[in-house]
């Protein structure tokens, strides 16, 4: 049972890390290589807020908002100019953003490791099913579940979601209906950046904050997005659960095989359902 709980915490962490990447691809058709850099930036900004205010919760709230504003600026200044061009320009642009964000982070915060302590109220472990589960992990499960529900409701059940989906399915038609597609795209990129930074802020008490953290996470994000189906939030939730549980079981019984199992899932998906387990078809910005 403890494996299930730990698996859930791994799953929701994976979902929080990859949700922004899948959202931006699904709605804008852009493979955002800078997702890992925005995640790292979220962790650093959260660290800075915790340093100033002493509150983890303010970091969790404001770091994603600050990075979302930066994301909007990036979309308006840079990304907007390459939507109509070949995908290679988007890849090059977002790759360039990694270098810019990394160097800016280095200039502001230096090379040293940073750390965000676990919030005081979540430091005590909880005894569950014969195991000691960190209460912070339980918070991650609850928070991840809320975010995934919120995203699902926003994109599939709200008027905003309908507008976003309309703008991503057929931008010209959406324009003729009076939708400001440019604003929608800016909003979607900002939301994707918000989610990346949220992943960074919530992971901050679990890992050291350092300049390479974005690179290490981006591979996992792509695995989730490819298995779930490029650009599909429901697919990302399912893929995160599949991967999280696989890892939890793998770490319990065969630690050395965990990476192999993860990439076997990826290869199996690419062989038998290359479009992913839950793919949307015909989406383009």
């Amino acid at each position: 049972m403890s494996t299930l709980i730990i698996g859930l915490s791994l799953s929701f962490l994976l979902f929080l890390l990859s949700a922004g990447l899948t959202l931006i691809f699904g709605m804008l058709g852009v493979i955002n290589f800078a997702h890992g850099a925005l995640y790292m930036l979220g962790a650093y900004v959260s660290y800075q807020i915790v340093q100033i205010t002493g509150s983890f919760w303010l970091g969790l709230l404001f770091a994603p908002l600050i990075v979302a504003a930066l994301g909007a600026l990036i979309e308006i200044v840079a990304l907007k100019r390459v939507y109509s061009r070949d995908h290679i320009f988007q890849l090059l642009l977002t790759f360039g953003l990694i270098l810019v964000i990394d160097d800016a982070t280095k200039l502001i915060w230096g090379f040293d490791y940073k750390q965000v302590p676990t919030p005081e109220m979540l430091t005590a472990p909880v005894a569950l099913f014969g195991s000691q589960i960190p209460s912070y992990r339980l918070f991650v499960i609850a928070f991840g579940a809320l975010v995934s529900l919120g995203l699902f409701l926003l994109l599939d059940r709200s008027k905003w979601g309908m507008i976003i989906r309309a703008a991503s399915s057929d931008a010209d038609m959406a324009r003729t209906l009076g939708i400001d597609v440019n604003q929608v795209r800016t909003g979607v990129f900002a939301l994707g950046s918000f989610l990346a930074a949220l992943g960074g802020a919530i992971t901050a008490p679990l890992v050291p904050i350092e300049l390479g953290m974005g690179f290490s996470v981006i591979i996992d994000c792509f695995v989730v997005v490819i298995i779930g189906g490029l650009g599909n939030i429901r697919g990302a939730i399912f893929a995160s659960l599949l991967l999280g549980m696989t890892r939890a079981v793998g770490f319990t019984y065969a630690t050395e095989w965990v990476e192999l199992l993860t990439f076997a899932l990826l290869i199996g998906t690419l062989m038998f359902r290359p479009e992913g387990l839950f793919s949307y078809k015909g989406r383009s910005a």
Binding site: D112, Q115, T118, P125, P134, P208, F215
Partner: protein
């Protein structure tokens, strides 16, 4: 460019970059040129920068000269990868560099070692710990003045014995050096009658240890051996702290914590034990003078990386100075048989058989520090003599 000129230039360039370096060096060069190949970006960027500070201090201390010539560094970033390390070092050797200093990661260092052997250029290693770097009758031009992983594993077992630990659960980062380290630890445990009740090989760069930590809590181990360092070690200790793993079990590792790692780990690091490569608190005249000068220059205590770089380069340059020669073979012969009586860590003796410096081993525990010390600092609890850590040569 005419075809003939092009061929002439290309031929000359090819010759210069493949000939043993002594053949392309001037008999008495204008300066003593050091090809410093370190990591200045990415996860190891911090290490490269600290090593640079330590190395520059060693040079500044001697007025910036050796053998009456100015010392010139060429700093290059290997991006923590062997290929750029070799490319950049090759270029600098082609320009007449007299020695290689670096790298940070053992993989890059081993790649530079091959180059140093091929080009017959001295190579100084002050941080990479892979045992393969200083094999018996191995690379003739490479020298390591810092710790080996093997001696740190030996220190870990000495600690296990001194604390009376009987059952150990280990977690090992899944790559060659730490796997070998664990195998050695297992052998030593068997000899000492210590039981290894479990070991998990976690992927390098693993970000989640919760399942492994859960298995450790459920085990009857009284000690937790962490065969990982850097991000992996910090992440493990941080996550172990969230379930108070250290409350009933002693957490330790060969290179698990130092002041930098403890700062990145936070309060969860308190009470964790680890081998330490260098520490500013070691009380001897050389170290006290180094720490004072470093603090004045940089406003902080020197890290292990800075201390080891300072110590190794200072020793090497002293030997070169005493040789009173620009002959590489003379330097290598002299260094292979040298003793560093005034090292910042105490006495160090270069072993001619494997070019590894035999030295004491520092073992410490993370404790709360008070100004001017960092908030969390290593308290050196034990100094193991070299003969307990190194096999006979």
């Amino acid at each position: 460019m005419k075809r003939r000129n092009f061929l002439k230039n290309a031929g000359t360039a090819a010759l210069v970059t493949t000939l043993p370096a002594p053949l392309v060096r001037a008999a008495t060069p204008d300066d003593f040129h050091i090809a410093a190949i370190l990591s200045f970006s990415g996860a190891y960027g911090l290490i490269g920068n600290d090593m640079r500070k330590g190395a520059e201090q060693a040079v500044a201390e001697r007025g910036g000269t050796v053998l009456g010539k100015p010392i010139r560094f060429s700093w290059e970033d290997d991006e923590t990868k062997p290929q750029p390390a070799v490319q950049k070092a090759s270029r600098l050797l082609g320009e007449g560099a007299q020695m290689i200093f670096g790298a940070v990661s053992s993989a890059s260092t081993l790649a530079l070692q091959s180059l140093s052997t091929q080009r017959k250029v001295p190579h100084l290693v002050t941080i990479s710990a892979d045992d393969a770097i200083t094999k018996r009758d191995g690379a003739p031009y490479s020298f390591r003045t810092s710790n080996t992983l093997g001696m740190e594993i030996n220190m870990s077992m000495e600690f296990v014995k001194s604390r009376g630990l009987k059952k150990i659960y280990a977690v090992t980062a899944d790559y060659q050096a730490t796997r070998s380290g664990f195998e050695r630890f297992e052998e030593l445990a068997k000899e000492a009658g210590v039981e290894i009740v479990g070991n998990d090989f976690a992927p390098l760069g693993n970000r989640d240890y919760s399942v492994i930590i859960d298995k450790m809590i459920r085990s009857d181990a009284d000690g937790i051996a962490v065969m990982a360092t850097g991000n992996d070690g910090i992440t493990f200790v941080k996550q172990a702290g969230q379930v108070d793993l250290g409350k009933d079990k002693v957490i330790f590792g060969p290179v698990l914590q130092d002041d930098i790692f403890a700062a990145a780990t936070g309060p969860a690091a308190l009470g964790v034990n680890s081998g330490v490569r260098y520490h500013y608190s070691v009380d001897n005249p050389t170290n006290n003078a180094f720490v004072a000068a470093y603090r004045e220059q940089h406003g902080e205590m020197p890290s292990s990386f800075a201390g080891e770089a300072y110590d190794g380069l200072r020793w090497w340059l002293d030997v070169v100075e005493q040789s009173d020669s620009w002959d590489v073979e003379t330097w290598v012969e002299a260094f292979a048989n040298s003793v560093h009586e005034t090292s910042v860590e105490g006495r160090k003796e270069m072993r001619a058989c494997d070019h590894q410096a035999a030295q004491v081993g520092l073992w410490g525990e993370v404790v709360k520090g008070e100004a001017p010390l960092p908030e969390l600092t290593m308290k050196i609890n034990e100094i193991f003599p070299a003969d307990r850590l190194f096999d006979a040569c």
